[in-house]
Symmetry: C2
Subunit: 244 residues, 2 copies
DNA sequence: AGCGATTTGTCCGTATGTATC
DNA sequence: TGATACATACGGACAAATCGC
């Protein structure tokens, strides 16, 4: 079967286009039956390129730890994950992952107090300049980074949430310790962009990778906004589902 | 202000990385105040590259019709859109766009009858091999392609839906003419991948572009599946919002 | 154990694209 | 505008490892 051809001389190296496609195919389960990638010659034929070009693509994937080439046997698939995040009124990060990962971590990278910009103020229904607490977090599942997020909270209502998050690694738990037993996801915006430099290092991606960006607003039971968060997920590793 | 540096020699040409970043900045409204891109020398400084490299990036964006360089004035922004698609139980494509575009089009690219694969059968709650109608559609807003979709319908229940769609350009209307007055969005999966060759031509994208992929299931009022659709949207031009 | 087929690893050389100065 | 350095992509040839018969 002839694969849809890659495009030449458009600023994206052939080996990178091919690496991206193979990575997607692995995540999509296309090679599950054999547990390895087709032989280099076959891939070269499918993509209409030289075998060396396929080798460059596979070398990049091996660098990412996704595959491992073994002389004489083939190129074995080591890692193949795509976490599913349900989005609903009850969206909770850690619960959402559920049993899809054994080990869940929430790291606090940084925290600060700052004044609400016009955009933040309107989303959180505060006045411009109102004090906010900003948390920079990195979440991991089974040691792999699955999202990095910037979250803002009204500072007067949730003093101490930074420490609470650092200790628990969970927004839900942190909310609980500062006096909010429950909250609800009001709205979620989803876009996708190329990974920027910070994404590349924080999420351990390679250049050209895609990140899914969500902008989420959480509120308490009375509908008063309690958190606005911008989260960035490696697109290869996650998908979102909305159940209506 | 020093921009986060672009990465060299990682399979994506500098000019393309910069083009992607500028395109995102335009879509994000960063240059709305002046209506044009900063001068080439300024951009070169920000990204830490030679001015020629910035020129290659801007030339690519001009080719896409996003900017236009005018000698003596600068590089003007021609087009800057990001359509918002609400996702809910009542998700309707044309209504969802609402007044975000004046002109809405739904084109039938192809239709066929085929047998349900295991995946399709399980999603539509049919038996494997059940007859399905497949529609390939392209939707445009203000002449710009905003999604291409493949949709499957149970063939026995919705015979004639291909013609109905071709005539109306609307799934909702087509359902109405074949006897289904109302339907409900049951679930939506969202992922993001690099555009493949078909995306590039159908959605008029340039290589390296990102497409948002949705897999949606619609059902009738009794919860019986009536449609399963895989849609692909140019990530630069759309975002999704989920209101809970 | 031997053999051939399959598959990855390494080397050569050449042409073109990318980026700087 | 050229000159230069490096990355990308191709083509071919052969070595080395694995597997099934």
């Amino acid at each position: 079967m002839q694969e849809a051809a890659v495009r030449r001389q458009n600023g994206v190296a052939l080996w990178r286009q091919i690496a991206d496609r193979i990575r997607s195919a692995i995540a999509g389960g296309d090679y599950d039956a054999i547990g390895k990638v087709p032989p280099e010659m076959v891939l070269a034929e499918q993509f209409g390129v030289n075998r060396h070009t396929v080798r460059s693509a596979l070398a990049a994937l091996a660098q990412e730890g996704i595959v491992q080439a073994v002389q004489g046997r083939g190129t074995l698939i080591l890692r193949k994950e795509r976490l599913n995040f349900p989005i609903s009124r009850r969206t909770r990060f850690n619960q959402g992952i559920g049993d899809q990962a054994r080990e869940k971590e929430g790291l606090l990278l940084a925290s600060a107090e700052e004044a609400a910009t016009a955009d933040l103020a309107s989303r959180l229904k505060l006045s411009v300049g109102a004090p906010l607490i900003r948390l920079e977090t990195l979440r991991k599942a089974d040691r792999r980074p699955v999202s990095r997020a910037t979250a803002w909270f009204p500072a007067d209502r949730f003093a101490g949430i930074a420490d609470a998050y650092r200790d628990s690694g969970s927004i839900t738990t942190a909310f609980g310790t500062v006096g909010l037993p429950d909250y609800i996801r009001v709205s979620t915006e989803i876009t996708a962009v190329h990974a920027d430099n910070d994404d590349l290092s924080a999420l351990e991606l390679s250049p050209g990778a895609i990140v899914l960006v969500t902008r989420a607003l959480n509120a308490d039971a009375d509908g008063v906004p309690v958190q606005y968060a911008v989260s960035r997920f490696p697109a290869d590793a996650v998908q979102f589902t909305i159940e209506n």
